[in-house]
């Protein structure tokens, strides 16, 4: 990989300060995304994957603290930027498709007008030009142009998600972060939207970060995958390698717990215990209380990085399969 990555995240730490203590939602995460590449971040609820999305866009609540690390977007570090300095990057260069499609659209404005407003806030195009652009965007995400001047409640769930995607595409960003983009949708609609997003991504040579709990969705749309646990990446690598030969016991556990409609009906294996409380994560490797291979080292010392080709994992007792 000789080209400069579109996005390079290094040792990112974002903590929430709450009454009960400090929640280490993102705790030292590093990865990079090449142009045209799609990265999947997979993990269970509370593992910090959505917090990463909010941190990358610097859309953080008041009690969030960006403690350390850098977010280099086309070589520019976003971390030290003020809100005013951040604005030209957000939506123009890095944009986002949110999880709850219903809440991302303002119910009292027509969808087309909302996209026009977003366009006008970020570029010089105005009036007729902007409306023309909305038409193009609707076409791109396969939305009927007659819906441009309709209100969000007249849209079905899938159409709303398409409108959100159109909005994220409006300024032709270099990278889009999609946080559970199809979680609330039925499977047929999900399939259509995922395939369309892939087509658009390839034709525009965009980079994508998909954030999902669904191993199957990530398997289908991502070139590279990162598995998160307790605010950290525990395994990272090309999707095909990670799924075929997972190194980390947590990744293996996720694989063997995930049911599939096709292929051999393998027995589902239950992972014992519960995800850790990020207020007080276990010492050493956070996965150690649930890990069948845990040793004393795992309980006391942070695990080393084990590499296998382009794939790596943070583990004391990696699978040597």
């Amino acid at each position: 990989m000789t080209t400069d990555p579109v996005l390079a995240v290094d040792d990112l730490k974002m903590h929430y300060v709450t009454q009960a203590g400090v929640v280490r939602a993102v705790d030292g995460v590093s990865f990079s995304v090449e142009r045209g590449q799609s990265l999947g971040l997979v993990g269970e609820s509370g593992c910090g994957k959505s917090s990463i999305a909010m941190t990358l866009l610097k859309l953080l609540p008041d009690n969030a603290r960006l403690v350390a690390g850098s977010i280099a977007l086309n070589g520019i570090d976003l971390v030290p930027l003020s809100e005013d300095e951040m604005r030209p990057h957000r939506w123009d260069r890095i944009s986002m498709v949110f999880q709850a499609a219903m809440n991302s659209l303002d119910p009292v404005y027509r969808v087309g007008d909302q996209i026009v407003e977003a366009l006008e806030a970020h570029s010089s195009s105005a009036g007729r030009d902007a409306m023309e652009r909305v038409r193009e965007l609707f076409d791109l995400v396969s939305l009927d142009p007659s819906y441009i001047l309709r209100y969000p409640h007249e849209y079905s769930g899938g159409m709303r998600q398409r409108a959100i995607i159109a909005m994220a595409l409006a300024c032709e960003p270099d990278i889009i972060i999609a946080d559970e983009p199809t979680t609330a949708l039925d499977v047929i609609v999900q399939d259509h939207i995922l395939r369309e997003m892939q087509t658009i991504q390839h034709s525009l040579e965009m980079s994508m970060i998909y954030i999902s709990h669904d191993m199957a969705v990530i398997a289908e749309v991502c070139d590279v995958v990162g598995v998160m646990y307790a605010g950290k990446l525990v395994e990272f690598g090309p999707t095909a390698d990670v799924y075929a030969r997972p190194i980390h016991p947590y990744t293996r556990a996720l694989m063997s717990a995930f049911p599939s409609v096709r292929g051999e009906k393998h027995e589902l294996v239950t992972l014992p215990g519960e995800p850790p409380n990020l207020l007080d994560p276990p010492g050493g490797c956070a996965f150690n209380p649930r890990c069948a291979y845990a040793t004393d080292e795992c309980r006391t010392t942070a695990p080393p990085i084990v590499k296998r080709g382009d794939q790596w994992a943070a583990c004391w007792n990696p699978s040597d399969e």
Binding site: I188, V189, A219, L271
Partner: protein
């Protein structure tokens, strides 16, 4: 009616005894509730659904949102009253009895034998009541046992669902428990009266993957140990594959295909089932699938036309499908039922 009866008889002879038989079950909801509206429109949420459930069997009902799967389940435990049709259910003396329109004490007695597990473990428990109160509620309203006996029964049931030691859970509140633990409590509440039938409405869809498997295994074990029959409602075909011996695929209030789970999933007959299955992603980056594109999206069945419900979106429909009423569920060989003229 006769058509429906034929359908149920078409199911291969049961090896075990019949627990429940739904005959031509329908539920319609009026769209307008105005007093002056003489001809209100109706949403045909469930429209002439028939199936059998054997004792100890798990039947899956799968489909997209709005297909009527939850309404079907709610009618079977009488949280909704069917507009039409019958639900024959085995009573205490082993006879089949129509429970579709029971009232008063007979309904209350029926509730001892049929229970429900709900989707959302966060909302299915009163936040102001302890786990003991929640699990003991069925015993309390049915006046089963005295306080000491209920305490023991509840502790025993909590142990059964893997909440051990029970004493450390009894007097805690739902918000002090994790999602998986709460769903175990919900299962305990459903099982505390030893029912023979449980409707499970997406019991794992809100749980994380590492927790979900545990709940699925628990439910399977309990079915084997206690001889419970489940109606397992889910949108997730992969989950249905692991939980159900047979599945029924619903679309706009109708069962469009029904049969042995593995048969239906590996070799679907109905064009809707085919499209649905082809859209399911698989957790294998190397796998290729061939998605079948179907037009449009799921609508709401308001006063549907007398034709196949899938006609507008069907890739193989022709004029015959347009001009005839919705096709009946017919045997398509080896016990597989499908409602399609073309398949």
């Amino acid at each position: 009616m006769s058509e429906a009866t034929n359908n149920t008889q078409a199911i291969p002879a049961a090896t075990s005894r019949l627990l429940l038989r739904a005959i031509d079950l329908s539920k319609r909801f009026p769209l307008s509730s105005g007093w002056w509206d003489r001809n209100p429109s109706f949403v045909h949420a469930v429209d002439g659904v028939s199936f059998d459930l054997m004792a100890g069997e798990t039947l899956g009902i799968v489909g997209e949102s709005g297909c009527g799967k939850t309404t079907t389940g709610r009618m079977l435990v009488r949280l909704a009253e069917p507009t039409e049709g019958q639900v024959l259910f085995e009573n205490e003396s082993g006879d089949l009895e129509d429970i579709a329109h029971l009232k008063g004490q007979p309904l209350k007695d029926f509730r001892r034998r049929a229970q429900m597990v709900f989707q959302d473990p966060y909302e299915s428990m009163n936040p102001r009541r302890t786990i003991f109160d929640t699990v003991a509620e069925p015993l309390q309203v049915q006046k089963i046992g005295d306080h000491a006996e209920r305490l023991e029964r509840v502790s025993e049931t909590l142990g059964l669902v893997g909440l051990t030691p029970p004493s450390s859970f009894l007097f805690r509140f739902p918000h002090e428990l994790s999602g998986g633990q709460r769903q175990r409590v919900a299962i305990a509440r459903a099982l505390v009266m030893n029912p023979s039938f449980v409707v499970a409405d997406e019991p794992t869809s809100m749980l994380d993957i590492s927790i979900r498997t545990g709940i699925m295994q628990l439910m399977g074990e309990l079915a084997d140990r206690l001889g419970i029959s489940y109606l397992y409602i889910t949108h997730d075909l992969a989950v249905a594959r692991y939980m159900c011996s047979r599945i029924a695929v619903m679309y706009l209030g109708k069962i469009v295909e029904m049969g042995e789970t593995e048969e239906v999933l590996q070799n679907p007959v109905h064009p809707y089932t085919k499209a649905l299955l082809s859209a399911v992603p698989v957790p294998d980056p190397e796998a290729t699938r061939d998605p079948i594109d179907i037009k449009g999206s799921v609508s709401v069945p308001v006063d549907p036309l007398p034709r196949c419900r899938f006609y507008d979106r069907c890739p193989i429909a022709d004029n015959f499908c347009r001009d005839n009423d919705h096709p009946p569920l017919q045997d398509k060989g080896s016990g597989r039922l499908a409602a399609c003229y073309k398949a």
